[in-house]
Structures are given as C-alpha cells and as structure tokens.
C-alpha cells in the first residue's frame, strides 16, 4: 500500500486503470439509470420514487467521501505523504457536489411527498447540511492560505477534526430531534424496500461509488501533474 504512495509509481500504476474505471462507471451508471426507469412505480409515491435512485447514492457516497477525505488527511498529517494530501484535496469538491446534489434531490423529492421543500425538524436533513458546511469550510480554509504546504497541513488538521466531530454532531442532532416532536408527515414514507426497488438502488449506489472513484483518481493524477508543472516552472524561473 505504501509502495503506491510514490507519486511516480502511482501515476504509472493508475494509467492503465483509468479507462477501465471510467468504462465501468459509465456502464454502471447507464445500467442504474435503465433499471431506475424500468423499476415499477411505487403504489403510493408514483414516479417520484425514481428520485431515490439519485438521492440515496448521492447522499451515502457524499458521506463516504468525507471518510476518504478524513483518512487521507490523517495519512497526510502523520506520514506527510504528498499523495495523501493530493487525495484529500481531490476528494473535497466531489464530496461537496455529491452532498449538494443529495440535498437538492432530497428537497425536490420532499416537496411532492412531504409537502415541503425543507423540514428543519428532520435530523438527516440537518446532518447532511452540516456535512456540506464541513466541505465548504475545508475548501475555504484551503483556498485562503497562500502557502500551499501550509494550507495543506491546516486543511488536514481541519479534515481530521471534522472526522471526529461528525459522529458527535450526528448524535447531537439526533438527540435534538427526539427532543422536538418529529413531524408526523415524515412517517408517511412508502412500504419497506422490495426486491424490485432494491436491485436498481444497489446498482445505482455501486455506479455512483465507482463514478466517484473515477473522478477521484483523475483528480489525484491531475493534482500530481499540476504540482509537477509548478515545480518545473519554479526551477525554470530560478535558472533564468
């Protein structure tokens, strides 16, 4: 595992993988979309149940990306691997995008189902929004410190602090949710998931996870190359 931490070896190792991962992502996404539209309508929710096949994968992958970001931050901080830092940096924007997508699709789904775009009383909505705030804070901190290595380490500390804080925030929001009476209309979701729905859902989740993997690997590779270009430029400027 640490052998791949060498950026050169990483580039060489992932180069042949990239077409495979991207093809797999596209195939799975196409399959997921196909299954999502051929899945039977929910007897109560009708066609709107199809939003789930975007919403649930986006939400769960968005949360998983923060785990990737936090673990990468840990490796960047403890072992000072430039690759781990590149991985953390590359995960932030997709993570924010997936989480934002989960929030948008969630409120598009919530309007016909719950009769409201947004319900402050629901703990999951709050946790998801806080996750988005963490991504925003991470990117803001990273962008506002000029020195790249310092920005990277400060961001890694924040990423790690966020990782230990997210479960606590989740717990506190859940606790708050039981304090306030949860809105009863949220109980009105459809029947428990059947196999007709489960298969497209699992396919979609796999598709989104692989899609993120493809985006992530591409972004890490781009980041390594970007740094290389920067250092070549710096060397040229020194020589000139």
């Amino acid at each position: 595992m640490f052998g791949l931490a060498n950026p050169d070896r990483f580039l060489r190792f992932t180069h042949p993988l990239m077409p495979v991962v991207w093809t797999l992502a596209v195939v799975l996404l196409a399959a997921g979309t196909w299954l999502a539209f051929t899945a039977p309508e929910d007897f109560r929710q009708g066609d709107t149940v199809r939003i789930m096949f975007v919403h649930v994968p986006a939400a769960s992958v968005g949360l998983g990306i923060y785990l990737a970001l936090g673990v990468s931050s840990f490796f960047a901080l403890v072992f000072r691997h430039p690759l781990a830092d590149a991985a953390a940096r590359a995960a932030a924007l997709p993570g924010a995008a997936f989480t934002a997508l989960a929030l948008v699709t969630g409120s598009l789904w919530g309007k016909p189902m719950w009769g409201a775009w947004w319900v402050w009383g629901d703990a999951r909505l709050m946790s998801e929004l806080v996750l988005l705030l963490f991504y925003i804070g991470y990117m803001a901190l990273r962008a506002s410190i000029d020195d790249e290595t310092r920005a990277a380490r400060a961001a890694a500390v924040l990423g790690l602090v966020g990782l230990v804080n997210l479960p606590i925030i989740k717990f506190s929001v859940d606790w708050w949710n039981t304090l306030h009476q949860p809105a009863s209309l949220l109980r009105a979701d459809g029947p428990s998931v059947t196999a007709d729905i489960l298969a497209p859902l699992l396919t979609s989740m796999a598709a989104w996870a692989v899609f993120f993997l493809a985006v992530w690997l591409t972004a890490i590779r781009t980041e390594i190359i970007r740094r290389r270009v920067l250092s070549i430029r710096a060397r040229r400027a020194q020589e000139a």
Binding site: L77, V130, L133, F134, I136, G137, A140, L141, S144, I145, D146, D147, R150, R153, A154, V157, L158, L160, V161, V164, N165, I168, I169, F171, S172, V173, W175, W176, L179
Partner: protein
Amino acid sequence: MSALSILFRRELALAWAGGGGPLLACGFFLCLTVLVPLAAGGDPAGLRPVAGGVAWLALALSSILSLERLFERDHEDGALDLIALGPAPLELVVLAKAAAQWLAVGVPLAVTAPVAAITLGLTPDQAPLVALSALIGALGFALTGALGAALALGSKRGGLLIAVVVLPLFIPPVVFGAGALERGVNGLSPGPALALLTAYVLFAAVVTPFAGAAAIRNAQG
C-alpha cells in the same frame, strides 16, 4: 507552571486593555438581542418559546467576535514565536489562551445571557439555569474557537474564515445548551443536557490543545 500563569495573566490584561474587549462582546450580545424582536416581531407570545434559543445563538456569535485576536496578533508581531520558544509546551499554551478567553469574554457573556433571555420572555426562575449552561457552553465555544483561530493563522481573510470553520463545530453545544433550557422550561430535569454539554466541553478540551498546537506549528513553519 509560572510561564503559563504569566501567559494567562497577560492574556487577561490584553483582553481588558484598549476599550474593554469583554464589554464590547457584551454590547454585541445585547445588539443581537435587540435585533431579534425587531426582525421577528415584538409579540411576547411569539418570543417566549425562542427566548432561550436566541440567547444561545447570540452567545455563540458573540464568542466568535474576539477569536481573530487570539493568535493572529501574536503571530503578526512575533510574540507567538517567542511563546513557542519558551518553556511551556505549545499544547498547554493553547489551553491557557482558551481558558483566558473564556474568563475574559465567556464569563461576562454568560452573566449577560440571563438578562437577555428574561427580556425576551423567559421566566426569571430559569435565570440560574441560563447562566450555568452559558458558563459551560462558553468554555466549549472558547476551546473550539481557539482551534479555529489557530487553523486560520496566516490566512488572508481571518475573521470570516474562522466563523465558517468554527460554526459547524458549535452545533453540539448549541443543541445541548438550548436543549437544557427547553427541558427546564418544560419542567423536565436539565441534568442530561447539561451532562452532554459538559461532555462536549471535555472532548473539546482534549482535541483543541493538540490540533491547535499542530496548526500553530504549521503556521510558524
């Protein structure tokens, strides 16, 4: 030990010097409290349920105000480098600065909080609970805020950045603190909420020194 106590006294003196920082924070707190009925309508029946929550919101926002000053000024004039070279470990320096911040800003705010909550319609018998929970919560805000201030060292937009980084971390103390008040108003025992609030403060007291010291070392390069 003496190095830390000198640092602690220095921080308190700096907080009070030049226009009374704590009074400024309390003034800000009261300004926020004034704006709430003006923005949300002055109907007492509408204000009473949110009185405790508004007091907590104002406490959280006021706690952020003076965070930029906590490390940034010492970083700019080089005092932070000298402190880092001194005998006290940087982890304890962070803890001492956060404690001084709590004593200088948090405690005055905690004393102001019951007044604000009562003007918004909370019954006076809840005042001790407001003060106690605000006292504990302000310590949590000072500790978490110190971490944010240390992380934002050397950034171009200190204040706003600290707020964006720190406010999501303020969620648990706000939830537990306002929850304690809500339980108190409803006649339940606020004990569990206060215990959770204290647990969060203890957690922050463990995380902040190490993470904050790492951030400061990083900023000093």
